[in-house]
Symmetry: C2
Subunit: 440 residues, 2 copies
C-alpha cells in the first residue's frame, strides 16, 4: 500500500499539545466568565441551510462560504454565529426567556485569502443580550465589563474600549443635510487604516461637499478626553432627535461601564469608531491593547435594533460582542503576551516506577492522588531510568514521584518538585498535602 502524505489544508490552525494547553486556558477563561455573568450556552449545528445563511443577501459572504455537497437541500458551514443566533431566537422565541443572554463559542468558516494570522477555520466567542421588542440601554454597558474581566484574568490589563454611538454622527449628518448616512459611516470606519487624506477623497466621491467634509472632521475630532468629548457634544446643542438620543445613550453606556467595573483609563469615547456594518444602530465598540494597536480590535460589536428581521416580523433588539479567538490567540502568542498565564495551567504530576515490578505500587499511589482530585499520571513502559526522566522532562510536568524497591518496601515515595529542584522521601499523604496547597 502506498503511503498518503499526512498534511492539513492551508489556512487551518492546528497546535501541538503545549500550545493547545495555552489556547484552552484562554478559551476556558472566556467561557467561564461568560457563564459567571449569566450568559447561557447554545450549541447550534455547524451546518445551516443556505437560505438561512444567505438570508441577508449574498455579496462577499456568498463568495467565501463553504458549501456542502449533500442531499438536495443547499447547505453550508456557518460563517459567523450571529445568523445562527437570529435563526435560533426566532425559531424558539416562545421557549426563551427575554432578555435572552446567550453565549456561544464555536468554529466558523470563511474562505478568505491565505494570509499570516488569518484563518479559514476560526473560533468566534460571542455574547449577545437579546430583548423581545425592548431592551434597556444599560445592557450595552455590561458586555465590556465581561470582556474586561476576561482579559484581567489573562493578565492582560492594557485594554482600551473605544466606544461610540452611531446615532450621534447620524443625527449630526442629518443636521447638516448629509443623507448618505451608511456611506459616510462606512468611510469613516476606514479612517484609521487609510488616513485622513484618503478618507476625504472617498467622501468627495460620495458627493459630500468640501465644507461638509470639514464639518464632519471637526465633529469626529471633538474633545480630548472622555469628559470633554461629552461636554463638547453637549455644547453643539444640535436640535436633532437622533443626535440627542445618541448622546443620552452614549452617556449612559459610559457611566454604567464604570459602575459595572471597567476603569476610566480603559475607556475611550471615540467618535471615529463607526463599525462598517449597517446592522449596528446605536452603541458601537472596538477594543484595543494599548501598545499593541497593530493587532487591531480584539473584540468588537454593538447595539442592533433588529436581530432577526429576515426570519420574523417581531423586533428583537440586542447588543453583542465577539472575540475572534483563533486570530487573537495567534497574535497574543506572537506578541508574547500569554507568558503570565502559563504558570496558571493545572499542575501535573508523573509517577515513574523504577522497575516493572514497582508498577503495582505506583498505581496504588496514582489511585490515591486521583481520588484526591489531583491530576496525575504514571509511566508504564519498560526502559532505563534515563528514558523515563526524559519523558517526564518533555511532558513538562511540575512534579515527579519515583517509586523503586526502597520506596515500596518503606511505603514511601520520592517526590521531586521541578521548580525548586527539591527531592525527598515522603508519605503519600504528605505529598497530597503539599500539592493541595501546603508547602515543601
Amino acid at each position: 500500500m502506498s503511503l498518503v502524505n499526512p498534511s492539513i489544508l492551508p489556512g487551518f490552525m492546528e497546535l501541538l499539545p503545549e500550545e493547545q494547553k495555552l489556547f484552552d486556558k484562554v478559551k476556558n477563561t472566556i467561557e467561564k466568565n461568560f457563564i459567571k455573568y449569566g450568559f447561557v450556552n447554545i450549541d447550534t449545528p455547524l451546518i445551516e441551510k443556505e437560505e438561512i445563511l444567505l438570508s441577508k443577501g449574498g455579496g462577499e459572504t456568498s463568495k467565501q462560504i463553504y458549501r456542502i455537497d449533500k442531499d438536495s437541500t443547499a447547505q453550508a458551514l456557518r460563517f459567523d454565529l450571529t445568523v445562527s443566533l437570529a435563526r435560533y431566537v426566532s425559531m424558539y422565541s416562545n421557549d426563551l426567556n427575554f432578555p435572552f443572554k446567550r453565549y456561544q463559542v464555536g468554529k466558523v468558516y470563511r474562505g478568505e485569502r491565505n494570509q499570516k494570522g488569518r484563518y479559514r477555520e476560526f473560533y468566534q466567542c460571542d455574547i449577545d443580550i437579546v430583548g423581545n421588542e425592548n431592551l434597556s440601554i444599560i445592557n450595552d454597558a455590561e458586555l465590556p465589563a465581561v470582556i474586561f474581566n476576561i482579559f484581567n484574568e489573562l493578565e492582560i490589563t492594557n485594554l482600551l474600549f473605544r466606544i461610540n454611538n452611531r446615532k450621534l454622527l447620524g443625527g449630526f449628518l442629518e443636521s447638516i443635510q448629509v443623507f448618505d448616512f451608511e456611506g459616510v459611516l462606512r468611510t469613516i470606519d476606514k479612517l484609521e487604516k487609510i488616513g485622513e487624506d484618503k478618507t476625504r477623497e472617498e467622501l468627495l466621491k460620495l458627493d459630500i461637499s468640501n465644507n461638509n467634509i470639514d464639518e464632519i472632521f471637526k465633529f469626529i475630532k471633538l474633545g480630548h478626553d472622555n469628559e470633554s468629548v461629552l461636554t463638547e457634544l453637549d455644547k453643539l446643542d444640535i436640535g436633532n432627535d437622533t443626535f440627542k438620543l445618541g448622546l443620552e445613550e452614549l452617556k449612559t453606556v459610559y457611566t454604567y461601564m464604570k459602575k459595572f467595573g471597567v476603569n476610566e483609563e480603559n475607556i475611550k469615547i471615540d467618535l471615529t469608531i463607526t463599525r462598517g456594518l449597517d446592522y449596528y444602530t446605536g452603541t458601537v465598540f472596538e477594543t484595543f491593547l494599548i501598545g499593541y494597536e497593530n493587532i487591531g480590535s480584539v473584540c468588537s460589536g454593538g447595539r442592533y435594533d433588529s436581530l432577526a428581521n429576515n426570519f420574523s416580523k417581531r423586533a428583537y433588539p440586542g447588543v453583542g460582542l465577539s472575540i475572534g479567538l483563533t486570530r487573537l490567540f495567534y497574535q497574543l502568542n506572537e506578541a508574547k503576551l500569554l507568558g503570565n498565564i502559563k504558570s496558571d495551567i493545572q499542575k501535573e504530576i508523573l509517577i515513574l516506577p523504577m522497575d516493572q515490578e514497582n508498577i503495582d505500587y505506583g498505581i496504588e499511589v496514582l489511585k490515591k492522588l486521583r481520588e484526591n482530585s489531583i491530576k496525575a499520571d504514571i509511566y508504564l513502559e519498560k526502559g532505563k531510568a534515563k528514558k523515563k526522566f526524559a519523558y517526564a522532562d518533555k511532558l513538562g510536568v511540575n512534579y515527579t514521584i519515583i517509586v523503586g524497591e526502597k520506596e515500596e518496601n518503606e511505603k514511601l515515595v520520592t517526590f521531586k518538585d521541578f521548580e525548586s529542584g527539591k527531592q525527598d522521601l515522603y508519605k503519600i499523604e504528605e505529598v497530597i498535602e503539599i500539592i493541595n496547597g501546603g508547602d515543601l
Copy 2:
C-alpha cells in the same frame, strides 16, 4: 422583504438552554476527567483532505461523507476523530512525547439515514494512548478506569465493561483450522443483535463446517463468571501462540482494571464481544448500562497494532475508547438517568431591582457578588414586579435578591432561597457567606 422560515436540517441536535446546561455538564465531566487522567487535548480541523479521510479505502464511509465544494483540493468533514489522530501522530511524531495520551472532544459528520436518536452531526469523545513501536498492555486497563470515574461522577453507577481479546478467538480458530478470522469475528459481533440461529446460518455461508460452528459456540460460551472463564480458557490448554498471548493479555487487563479502580461487579469477561472492525488486534471493550442494555454500548474501543499505517511506515500501537456523546445524551435523557446531576449545576442568583431608581444599587450588589466568584445577574428592564418574578422563575434561578427603596436606604438586600422558600433581609456580606457554603 419576504421572511425565511427559521429551521435546521433534519438529523441535527439543537437544545434549548435548560437541556444545553445538562449536556454541557456531561461534556465537562468527560473533559475534566480526561485531563485529570493525564490526557492532553488536540483540536484538529473539522475539514480534512479527502485523501486523508479515505486513505483506508472508501466503502460505507465514502457514501456517508460530507464533501465540501471549495477550491481545487478534494476535502470533506471528518467522520470520526481517529483518522485525524492518525494523521496528527504521523505528521508531528518528532514533536510528540510517546506514549502520547491524547483526548479530543469534537463534532463529526455522517450522512446516515434519519432515525430517532441517530444524528448526522454528533460529538465524539475519544481517548487514545499511542506508543511509538511499543506500548505496555497495562495501558489497556487504564482507559476503562477513566470512563468508570466519569460515569460515577454523573451518578450512573450501573456500568458494565464487557471485555475480551481478539487474539483468543483468533488463536482458537487457527487451532481448529478455521482461517477466515475476520469473517467469523465480524459475524460473532452480530450475535447479540441477530441471535444464535441467524449467526449459525451466516457462519455456514462462510463455509465453516457445522462441527466447527459447534466448537465456536462452545468456546464463546465458556465459563459463568470472570474467574471461571479464565480457568476454562486455561484448561483448554491450546498450544497456539496467538491464543496464549491473548489469554495473558486478557488476564493482565482484567487484573489491572481492578487495580486502577474499576469494581469486580462492573467487569464482565465476555468472549462474544469481538467488535466488527479489522482495526482491533487485541483487547476489545464494550460498555453497557445494566438494566438499560437496549441503549447499546455507551463506550467502545480496543487495542490496535498500527494506528497510522496509511501515513507512516512506523508502527504506532495504541489503545482507544470512544463515547458517542450526542446519542448517549439523547438516550440518558430519554431514560431519565440524568436527573441526579441537575442539582450539581452551578447555582444561579438573580438581582431584581424593584424600580429603575434601584438599578445602581443593584449593580453595586452584583459587582460584589461577582468579585466573590459568584455567578450572578441582574434584571435591568422596566416593568411590574410580576413580570420580574416571572423572569426569575422561567430562568430557574436558585436565589433572588430584591433591591427596592427600603433595601437601598438600609444598605441591605432581600434574599430569597427558592429551594427552602425562606426570604429575609441580609447584609450583602452575609449573602456571600451563605452562597459560599454557609447556611441560611
